[in-house]
Amino acid sequence: MSTTIDPVAGAARAGGDPTGAFGIDWALIRRQIGGILRLEISKNLIGGRALILYVLAFAPVLLVSLWVVVPIDKGLGGPASGAAIFANIFPFYVRVSVYLSALLLFMSLYRAEILERSLHYYLLTPIRREVLTAGKYLSALIAMSLTFALSTALLFVLFCAPWGVGELMGYLFRGPGMGNLLAYVGIVILGCAGYGAVFLLAGQFFRNPLVPGLVLWVWELINFLLPPLLKKISVVHYLRSLYPIPVVEGPFAIIADPTPAWLSIPGLLVFTSLVLIAAGWRARRIEITYGGE
């Protein structure tokens, strides 16, 4: 059996460049994140975890497909009226499908590997825990964004489809349709990013993150009933401010001024970044005591 040993240690041995800006070897970090994405994305897109993701993302698509094919009167408003129906259903889609998917997927990033006793493989590689956290988060964000961007686009198109292909194309490419569709896709991706960061952190802190996840879910569900100040302590409030088609939330809703897009988007991104920094900090303190889980 061969016993050859590569005697050179350090980043150079791994093909790393000398340190770059801020004394950090960015090229090495890029490669390491690439390595995590390779391992994690397939995990998130194939297998049990992915099955739940697909059910939550595409069950609404299946339901709406039935609505499209059933020969009932869909009104005369054309694709714009279909888009309005989509707009009223979209908040529930975000609060149920997107929220629960993010809860299950991002919460599993650390927690599931602790339960499966496989997290130590990552922790035994020469990677900063913050980079590991960022890589895991990105992998789940990519998987979920791809799935839900497709699901959202299909839902939007299906709602606008019953009036014929010509009407649909006209609405999408010569009307406001495509802009609205892209806005909804963007909102869903922002939702994945915001909720994902929160659940990633929750998965590091709680042995059973489902409980805080469900408590937060109730908070997000009743957001429309909350006073304006409390509304702002939620992700869904900022997402709602970005809806391209205004939505009426029912007779009991407490109306609050929407936060302008120039504040909502950077606000959500800053919030996400702060939560991720906290998750990275928390990851540095993770110890492997599988027996205690």
Binding site: S2, A9, L28, R31, Y121, I127, R285, I288
Partner: protein, 335 residues
């Protein structure tokens, strides 16, 4: 402690510290680890130089805790650990120098042997070509090339152990930490893996092996550290205990496909004191006075009768008796 057993701790540690340079040693400086109120290890002061070092002790003695501390998977409650001069809270430097084969028989879901090794090398930061090369080299070393593209979940226990070894040594670390590395390996694989460890140690590298099997450590380690109840109770060269070990029969549990044949053939050897068949006739319990001769005989029988081994483990009860003989009442006198 038995008077002709291994050297006591303070003298050896002091001498070693004087000789070894900090960037060539693994140093535990007054390290303690508590899990809540439960003691993991307490007041550990050790300086480990290159070569094969055996951490020996019964189950629950603190071997795995010590290894997890050394590899940063646990943080010490008190004290500091430096591996070749690097703190265990510096993963980016530490894990280029250290490889750890844990005792956890678990893997990420759905991966093949190759995907596991290659994927983790990519996380190390190696580019594709180098990762591929290192992965195949590691798989070759543990004789898993043929099974490389099979799912790890379908591997036998011995194969899973070997793929964990491959993962630990794939990046060619200078310090190899191995928690019960020979568990589940058949005699041929044990001999081959031991050869790898000895080769690495001969090249001046650190190989730190834990085992609850004194005989196993006796065969391969240059130095042993005896742990009991979270304390280091003795350390030094193992030569002195060899006779003591040999005088105490060890009890080996074997699971294989031809247990009755193996039992009858083992009975023909004078060093085998007792053989008991399991009820399912797929396993047997062997008591032997001479572990070295027993393992040699086992090797020959496995080859001669084409026996497929599932597991070989040493029963803990006998080992504990040997420890008690060597260190007195659980080493209390030396705490």
């Amino acid at each position: 402690m038995n008077e002709h057993a291994i050297a006591t701790r303070p003298g050896v540690a002091a001498t070693t510290q004087q000789i070894a340079r900090a960037d060539e040693t693994v140093v535990f400086d007054n390290v303690s680890k508590f899990y809540g109120e439960v003691l993991g290890v307490n007041r550990i002061n050790l300086t480990l130089t290159s070569g094969i070092i055996g951490l020996v002790g019964p189950n629950g003695s603190g071997k795995t805790t010590l290894m997890n501390l050394m590899t940063g998977l646990l943080r010490p409650t008190e004290g500091t650990i430096r591996v070749l001069g690097i703190g265990t809270d510096e993963p980016t430097r530490l894990f280029r120098l250290i490889g750890y084969c844990t005792q956890w028989d678990s893997f990420p879901r759905g991966v093949t042997g190759y995907e596991l090794i290659y994927g983790l090398l990519r996380v190390h930061g190696y580019p594709h070509a180098r990762s591929d090369e290192l992965a195949w080299e590691a798989l070759e070393r543990v004789k898993l090339v043929d099974a490389a593209h099979r799912k790890v979940a379908g591997y036998s226990k011995g194969m899973r152990q070997r793929v964990r070894l491959a993962q630990a040594l794939a990046h060619k670390p200078r310090v190899l930490v191995l928690d019960e590395p020979l568990n589940g390996l058949d005699p041929m694989a044990r001999a081959e893996i031991i050869g790898v460890f000895q080769g690495w140690a001969a090249e001046g590298y650190h190989v730190i092996i834990s085992s609850h099997i004194l005989h196993e450590v006796d065969m391969i380690a240059d130095q042993v550290i005896l742990l009991s109840g979270g304390y280091v109770v003795a350390e030094g060269e193992i030569g002195g205990v060899r006779t003591d070990i040999e005088e105490h029969p060890i009890q080996v549990l074997i699971r294989c496909d031809k247990a009755p044949i193996l039992a009858s053939k083992l009975f023909e050897h004078d060093h085998v004191v007792e053989v008991t068949m399991h009820d399912d006739r797929d396993g047997l319990l062997v008591r032997t006075k001479d572990a070295n001769r027993f393992y040699l005989a086992l090797n020959e029988l496995v080859l001669a009768h084409d026996i497929e081994m599932e597991t070989i483990t040493v029963a803990d009860a006998d080992v504990r008796a040997v420890y008690q003989y060597l260190i007195g009442t659980e080493g209390e006198a030396t705490r």
